[in-house]
């Protein structure tokens, strides 16, 4: 069955959702892991994404694109929430009553291997080098040293607005670079 057929079937039969889950869970987990480089956070993000997708399975509509895009859309939103709040939302997990299993060392190793973690770490380490110097410095101060934009502005002798723009552009560019790494 295609993803689209499975999603339609899952609307009335939850077992079809399990097949969809089996088809995409590894890849979603790798998607998360490559972005957060933390297997535990990636596992939590996968669990919440799956729970949200299950709750919304009847809403999925055909927009002429592969239905996996629907799953990745939910995944991207959960990732964005997680990054913004520095915590993984677990509301859908709670609503469905999913007992999320603990992550064991074997799974951690398997996730790293599946996500080609070493290669991705190298790509992540190299990505900042491809930013403009001012943007790279602003991102490092914001992300690594956790400075506010006012402090970044003071260090770079620029306005706070300019510092914010540099951070924003730098992060957006980093995101684009990492998106290019599947």
């Amino acid at each position: 069955m295609t993803d689209a057929e499975l999603i339609v079937a899952a609307g009335d039969d939850p077992r079809a959702f399990r097949e969809l889950y089996d088809r995409w869970a590894d890849r979603l987990l790798a998607y998360f892991y490559r972005r957060v480089l933390d297997a535990d956070v990636a596992a939590d993000l996968l669990a919440e994404t799956v729970a949200v997708a299950y709750e919304r399975r009847r809403r999925c509509r055909d927009v002429g694109k592969p239905r996996a895009a629907w799953l990745y859309g939910i995944a991207a939103k959960e990732l964005s929430h997680g990054v913004r709040r520095q915590d993984v939302e677990r509301r859908a997990i709670r609503r469905l009553g999913i007992e999320v299993p603990a992550l064991d060392d074997e799974s951690r190793r398997a996730i790293e291997a599946f996500a080609d973690a070493d290669e991705h770490r190298a790509a992540l380490a190299a990505a900042p080098e491809r930013l403009a110097a001012a943007e790279r410095a602003a991102v490092e101060l914001r992300v690594v040293e956790e400075l506010g934009c006012d402090e970044i502005a003071a260090r770079h002798a620029c306005s706070e607005a300019a510092a914010r723009v540099r951070v924003h552009r730098g992060l957006a560019r980093l995101n684009t670079l990492m998106e290019a790494t599947p």
Binding site: M1, A9, D13, P14, R15, R18, A25, G97, A110, I111
Partner: protein, 312 residues
């Protein structure tokens, strides 16, 4: 199967959560479920048990689901899945398939029952085994357990999960379910919920009791709560109007109604049901997204209503 053990365990946890429809939510799965479904996706937990043990275990098969096939073939897409609920599998499928034709039930090594139209040798022709001796007795035993469990669960509006577990353990002990345990396994609500056979985990010999809302609240949410979602698309409401409608419709819950408004477009790739509701939303009207019981802290139950509107 994934090579990442966590992925398989999370999938099983998801199956288990889905299989227990105790949550009081506006959009609940219908009891009867249809769909083109690859039979291979049946995941009724064969882990650690041999095929012979499953095929020869009438109790286990009697608690499993029943797949009704419209043709005598194992091709996916010709099947609908029913909860056995203690009835004869052929009677269940005769209702579903709306047929008077002869039906035959076979045991599947995955741990469930399949029913096909055809003569008595259909199981053998398909390479399957007939149901084991003792299946009908086991089925009737499940039906009796179901009646006894229902009687206990319905004896009060709210029985705390731990209390319900103790009462159901007595039911198990007194009705010949030797080795079975009633366990409290999950859920947020203050009241114990259990459905038979979906709460039966034959592979572990457990009845899984979860927390949920009081029965009276569940009744309202699955009636007025469910109806509120499509009703919000019957005319164009603004947020204030929808808040009023919500409070009026859900007043019988006598619970605090917490309304949240989510302003913004619907996520890409999603649509609302019924289509009239989607149309109202597209026109800028406010619609109800979901209605459910929530438990912000121990001893406190609120009804949450999510309203969605394109622009605040």
């Amino acid at each position: 199967m994934s090579e990442i053990p966590f992925v398989n365990r999370l999938g099983d946890a998801l199956d288990e959560a889905i299989a227990t429809p105790q949550r009081a939510k506006a959009r609940r799965p219908r009891r009867r479920r249809f769909g083109g479904l690859a039979v291979a996706v049946f995941l009724l937990g064969a882990g650690g048990v041999t095929v012979a043990e499953i095929l020869d275990d009438p109790e286990r098969l009697a608690t499993a689901e029943v797949a009704c096939y419209s043709e005598a073939t194992l091709e996916p897409g010709l099947v609908s899945v029913q909860s056995g609920e203690g009835r004869s599998p052929t009677a269940v499928c005769a209702d579903v398939l709306r047929t008077d034709a002869a039906l035959v039930a076979c045991a599947r090594k995955e741990g469930f029952v399949s029913v096909f139209p055809g003569p008595p040798d259909t199981c053998e022709r398909l390479g399957l085994k007939p149901l084991p001796a003792g299946y009908d007795d086991a089925r009737r035993k499940v039906a009796r357990l179901r009646a006894n469990v229902d009687r206990v669960v319905r004896s009060a509006d709210c029985i705390p999960p731990e209390v319900l577990a103790r009462r159901l353990q007595r039911v198990l002990d007194e009705s010949g379910w030797r080795g079975w345990r009633a366990v409290v396994d999950r859920g947020e609500g203050p009241c114990g919920w259990l459905g038979i056979p979906v709460g039966m985990r034959a592979d572990r010999r457990e009845l899984g009791i979860s927390g949920g809302p009081p029965r009276s609240l569940e009744r309202i949410l699955s009636g007025a709560g469910v109806a509120l979602v499509p009703a919000s698309g019957e005319r164009c409401y603004d947020v204030a109007g929808l808040r009023r409608l919500t409070r009026r419709r859900l007043a019988p819950t006598r619970r605090r109604i917490v309304v949240t408004v989510d302003a913004g477009p619907l996520p890409q790739y999603e649509q609302m049901e019924p289509p009239a509701r989607q149309q109202r939303f597209d026109e800028g009207c406010a619609v109800v997204d979901e209605v459910y019981a929530d438990y912000p802290k121990p001893g406190r139950i609120v009804v949450r209503v999510k309203i969605r509107v394109k622009r605040a």
